[in-house]
């Protein structure tokens, strides 16, 4: 009986690891530092957010959706990064690709997200070369140029290394 229980728990642990391991699907692309396409989009509270108003900060633009399982894994790490580097000039901006704001709003509340979230759309996706899979994140330097593109759930250490290299030294 005990052996069966151990075997089942072991199988569950293996499944959990397979489902939640970080970075397995992620790919990082260094970009040619093209200017990040500007946009103005409504936040979940209805106020407009303009990307270019964050010039001078390092911006992590994260495309996500409430139904995206890897986004659920990644979001707590992004919250930690915002907490850790916000004072030094990091601004994470979430772009929800949900079809309607309600599930995005519920997600924001569930995770206690500490950075602004706007509602994206197909046009926003096309501006960034097509957001045809989630999550996808773009790291934008203080001059508003795209430094790197991260496809898939990205390990927090990878983000952190890039962010630290773009922020002014403490």
């Amino acid at each position: 009986m005990l052996l069966i229980a151990v075997a089942v728990i072991g199988a569950a642990a293996a499944l959990y690891w397979v489902e939640h391991k970080h970075g397995s699907d992620a790919a990082v692309h260094r970009t040619a530092k093209q200017p990040a396409p500007d946009f103005t989009l409504p936040q979940l509270d209805g106020q407009d957010l303009r990307l270019s108003s964050f010039r001078g900060k390092v911006v992590l633009l994260d495309f996500w959706a409430s139904w995206c399982e890897p986004c659920r894994v990644e979001t707590p790490h992004l919250i930690e990064l915002q907490e850790k580097y916000g004072d030094r000039g990091l601004q994470i901006i979430g772009v929800s690709m949900d079809d309607s704001p309600d599930p995005a709003r519920a997600f924001v509340q569930q995770f206690h997200m500490n950075y602004p979230v706007v509602m994206g759309n197909a046009k926003t996706g096309e501006l960034y070369g097509g957001v045809l899979g989630l999550p996808i994140a773009f790291l934008i330097d203080r001059d508003g140029r795209i430094y790197s593109k991260h496809i898939g759930a990205t390990e927090p250490e990878v983000f952190e290394k890039d962010i630290a290299s773009l922020l002014p030294k403490p």
């Binding site: 569950a12 499944l15 489902e19 890897p70 759309n121 197909a122 899979g133």
Partner: protein, 158 residues
């Protein structure tokens, strides 16, 4: 004292059982649980679509509308995310009147295959309705990487 220790063991067993149950249930609801024989590769679907005289499938996208608007397989229909009850309902309504032998291809491509929450529930729903000729498009990474970037035909808009 012994009672207290036994109680803790019971708590632990219940906790492990819950985690096990939830994890297995989650795994079963994901695309990796679809039998390989029920999958079709993008290359094979393209060949099929481009070969005259072959039966063309009804292609249904069961993911996000925002992604569909950016790019989808020409001729395919948007139904809605099958991970939600409303999406499943729309799927059932769309195919309800069709002969159960209708060739149907389901696809999503929102996330890496092992994380897609939509294709498995959609596949299950059609099978439960008695459809016998359903294939699920195998998209390992996402629709952008495994379809658009390969240069396969794409349509935009609704």
């Amino acid at each position: 004292m012994k009672m207290k220790t036994a109680g803790r063991y019971v708590d632990l067993i219940v906790l492990f059982a819950t985690i096990t149950g939830l994890t297995i249930a989650q795994a079963l609801a994901q695309a990796t649980a679809i039998p390989t024989s029920d999958l079709i590769n993008p290359e094979d679907l393209i060949k099929l679509l481009q070969t005259s005289g072959k039966e063309k499938p009804l292609m249904i996208q069961v993911g996000s509308h925002v992604l569909f608007s950016q790019a989808h397989i020409p001729g395919s229909e948007y139904i809605g995310p099958a991970s939600s009850e409303s999406g499943l309902q729309q799927l059932r309504q769309r195919v309800e009147s069709l002969p159960r032998k209708t060739f149907i291809v389901l696809y999503c491509g929102c996330c890496p295959w092992g994380h897609c929450p939509n294709v498995k529930p959609a596949d299950d729903a059609l099978k439960a309705m008695g459809f016998t000729n359903v294939k699920v498009l195998y998209i390992p990474e996402n629709f952008g990487t495994n379809w658009v970037d390969k240069g396969y035909p794409v349509a935009k808009g609704d």
